[in-house]
Symmetry: C2
């Protein structure tokens, strides 16, 4: 059976220190990794949500980044849900064939080799879904 | 170590049939359960996101329910993230002691015996978190 696995949830916050205090100190969940991504102009903190499950906290580092605009328009809260698949190109082709809109026409590649692509929330009943295909 | 596990993500949609079509037919993920909850005035569809991981699709069935008001105010999208814990009262006491605001003062109980409570998104850096303690 094809893999379909809730991998992580991305949450946009205007206040990364409060968010980290809540998840790390309040809920006593570990920090897996922190990074500043200058290309996307975001700070990201990955919270360990059990085994391979992750909460991704995202905060803009500039006033005019994509995430800053999202925050101004939509407010704080959940940004995307990521589903791990083992056949990202097949899933993307199937979604397109069924009339669902993708943000990326082809998968993009992270530095660790993970392929990823986003679906447009307009066509999915309201949520942005990220697809992940991790390297074997 | 205390259990802290991403259990499910709740997504509010105005159009449950599009949402189900996306998750079930587009992404080929199974439907675990569908229910109409008249007390909360919602239709809920649980999508299998791998083992014990779940996507919870939520749609209002009336114009004046809590979820209908949420939808009018915030729009479609993610509504809450649920973390399973094994000590919900201790987690709630800790959060309160640290100044985080809870929506429920005491845990509530679902028909299957699961205890649950929500934190207020204002005090957590932007997201509503549900805590779950499943029966042993």
């Amino acid at each position: 059976m094809a893999k379909r696995l809730l991998d992580h949830v991305g949450i946009v916050t205007a206040d990364i220190s409060t968010a980290v205090r809540f998840w790390r100190d309040g809920l006593e969940m570990g920090v897996k990794m922190e990074e500043r991504n200058d290309e996307e102009a975001v700070d990201i903190v990955f919270i360990d949500a059990g085994g391979d499950r992750t909460i991704e906290l995202i905060a803009p580092t500039t006033e005019d980044s994509g995430i800053a605009k999202y925050l101004n328009k939509k407010g704080q809260g959940q940004h995307h849900v990521c589903i791990e698949v083992d056949d990202i190109e097949a899933v993307m082709a199937r979604l397109t064939a069924q009339g669902f809109e993708l943000i990326n026409e082809a998968p993009r590649r992270r530095h660790d080799g993970t392929l990823y692509a986003f679906t447009h929330p307009k066509s999915t009943g309201g949520v942005m879904v990220e697809l992940y295909q991790k390297p074997e």
